[in-house]
């Protein structure tokens, strides 16, 4: 399913847009990495795409305006994993993943066997079967990330929005989480838009990158086009060295001369 944003603007205060007239297209089954320094508008853009914040401009999913879809229908098409998902302490992993079936249930209905089956498939995809009965408060950071992803997959979405999915993870877990997302995408094709802070990992895993600064698109393209020393210096105010590798590029922070 494709996403087309035209002139998307999000403003929490009048005349101070955090997303300012962004126009982006994401092709069906493409993985788009959203980059930008803190406050660039990445999270607000993702929240606007799923209708969680008010926005101006148009958002189209496969050509259909988001405004014409009910909240329930949007949730059947688009799953969102926030940066820090709320995880009720006493809830089990199974019950949390089953929340992903909510868009498919009547308002006052409850889950049936097919919903449990869908949640089980999602948990199996993320290797969570041994944790099904465990309470969320007893999970490690990496396990919590996988559980949040499993809930999103239980929604059986065509589009997956990830807000810094690896922010709370160490480097090993960051890598394995992104590899897991990539592997899931091979089994179940879907369009992914993920806000990312680690520039090297973004370049390695996303098909295409968009760099935001002060709510606007300032660079767009593959990793070599977007992740330049000049762009990173200009928009992140960081001095880095770009190292070319056979399978991509590596962004290495360089110590500033004193």
């Amino acid at each position: 399913m494709s996403i087309t944003l035209s002139g998307l603007t999000v403003a929490y205060e009048p005349d101070h847009p955090v997303v300012d007239g962004v126009s982006i297209s994401v092709a069906t089954n493409e993985w788009l990495g959203l980059l930008g320094p803190n406050g660039a508008g990445k999270s607000s853009l993702l929240r606007a795409v799923i209708g969680l914040v008010e926005s101006r401009g148009t958002i189209a999913l496969d050509g259909s305006s988001l405004a014409d879809l009910s909240r329930r229908n949007v949730a059947r098409l688009v799953a969102f994993v926030p940066q820090e998902p709320v995880m009720p302490a006493g809830m089990s992993v199974t019950d949390y993943v089953l929340l992903g079936r909510t868009p498919y249930l009547p308002y006052l209905g409850r889950e049936g066997a097919q919903d449990v089956a869908a949640a089980t498939i999602a948990m199996d995809l993320l290797d969570l079967r041994q944790l099904v009965a465990r309470e969320l408060k007893d999970l490690s950071g990496g396990e919590r990330q996988r559980v949040a992803l499993a809930r999103a997959l239980a929604q059986q979405p065509s589009i997956l929005l990830l807000d810094e999915p690896t922010a709370a993870l160490d480097i090993g877990h960051q890598q394995s989480a992104l590899q897991m997302i990539g592997a899931i995408r091979e089994q179940r094709p879907m369009t992914i838009v993920s806000a990312m802070h680690d520039l090297t990992l973004a370049g390695q895993f996303a098909d295409r990158l968009v760099l935001l600064a002060e709510g606007r698109v300032v660079a767009e393209g593959d990793a070599r086009t977007v992740l330049t020393e000049d762009n990173i210096q200009k928009y992140y105010k960081a001095t880095v060295e770009i190292i070319e590798m056979s399978d991509g590029i590596v962004v290495v922070p360089a110590r500033r001369p004193t």
């Binding site: 969680l52 199974t94 949390y96 929340l99 209905g109 099904v132």
Partner: protein
């Protein structure tokens, strides 16, 4: 040789064993409440009378006419009223805790108590002759008005987020309490009557209070029971609930409306009975876990049993004098509340 077993995902369901156990406790509370008292009815007589009445068998009972009248016109209405009030307050408390995602929320969070208190005080002070008939109506109107104003104030200053609503509720409650205190101070001769109402009581005149309260409890409890899975969904926060295709503000609005109506009706006939709405859901949460699929129905049943037993204590501990039931619930609830505060730190941070 060990074999690895693949666990099967089992979603949370109503804990039927605990429901059966709590219904047993409720049955025992009804029997005790109907039996104990100065009239000296025996449990066997009461059980035979109740079974006989249920099966329309006149000769099953060994009670004389006076004892029958005491049982059916005094004891049973009071027990049923206690059950309805206790069940409604505990159910509303659990529901409020769900939609506000705050385990320390109670049914009076948005100003029900302050509104009801002002309504009752106005009648006691300024329309004393209409007294007993008008107090429940004024209390109900005051309670519903306070929550409606809190809701409108909350919306006018920044949407329907939980924090805005709670703060609006605190402001409205403070204002209504100040007004109630002012009226009370200006009419010092009615202070005793006002305090008697505020501390709560389940005195009945036959079945009229029960029949007044019953429709509210039935409708409100059905709506709240039907929302128990959605209360589990709401536990992940407004934004994530919305992203799952459910309008969090709609669910909160529906639950608050029906929890408030039920609470207002209960308060109108019983006065301000404290702690039931917070202590009972917490006791259940400690035993069966935090899923609202069990918490909501069990709160209702255990809340009913708790208040029947509290009322029994209120009318027998210092017999022939009767203690305000609010004193009993607070006496039991306050120490328990301290325990809850300790165990709730994981939820409230």
């Amino acid at each position: 040789m060990s074999t690895s077993v693949t666990p099967t995902p089992r979603p949370a369901r109503l804990r039927w064993g605990w429901l059966a156990a709590s219904l047993g406790v409720l049955g025992a509370a009804v029997l005790l409440g109907s039996t104990l008292g100065p009239a000296g009815l025996s449990p066997v007589q009461v059980v035979r009378e109740m079974i006989g009445s249920a099966l329309f068998i006149d000769h099953a009972s060994s009670l004389d006419e006076t004892q029958r009248a005491i049982l059916w016109e005094i004891r049973v209405p009071r027990v049923v009223l206690g059950g309805l009030v206790g069940g409604m307050l505990a159910l509303a408390g659990a529901s409020y805790q769900g939609v506000f995602r705050n385990p320390l929320a109670d049914p009076y969070l948005l100003g029900v108590a302050a509104g009801a208190g002002l309504g009752a005080t106005l009648v006691i002070a300024y329309v004393p002759r209409a007294g007993s008939n008008l107090i429940p109506i004024a209390a109900f109107v005051g309670a519903v008005s306070a929550v409606a104003i809190a809701y409108l104030v909350g919306r006018s200053v920044g949407g329907r987020s939980t924090m805005t609503l709670i703060l609006a509720g605190i402001a409205v409650a403070a204002f209504f309490t100040a007004a109630q205190t002012y009226v009370q101070q200006r009419n010092g001769d009615t202070i005793r009557q006002v305090y008697s109402w505020i501390l709560g009581r389940l005195s009945t005149s036959g079945w009229s209070e029960v029949l007044t309260l019953l429709p509210y409890v039935l409708i409100c409890s059905v709506v709240l029971l039907l929302h128990r899975r959605l209360l589990d969904v709401m536990s992940v926060g407004d934004h994530e609930t919305d992203s799952l295709g459910i309008s969090s503000s709609r669910v909160r609005g529906v639950v608050v409306i029906f929890a408030t109506l039920g609470t207002a009706a209960a308060v109108a006939v019983s006065g301000l009975i404290a702690f039931v709405g917070i202590v009972v859901p917490h006791a259940i949460r400690l035993v069966v876990g935090s899923s609202y699929r069990s918490l909501i129905p069990l709160s209702m049943v255990v809340g009913a049993a708790f208040l029947i037993l509290a009322d029994l204590a209120a009318r027998t501990v210092a017999s022939p004098a009767e203690l305000p039931i609010g004193v009993i619930t607070a006496f039991l609830g306050a120490p328990f509340f301290a325990v809850v505060l300790r165990t709730s730190r994981q939820y409230v941070g």
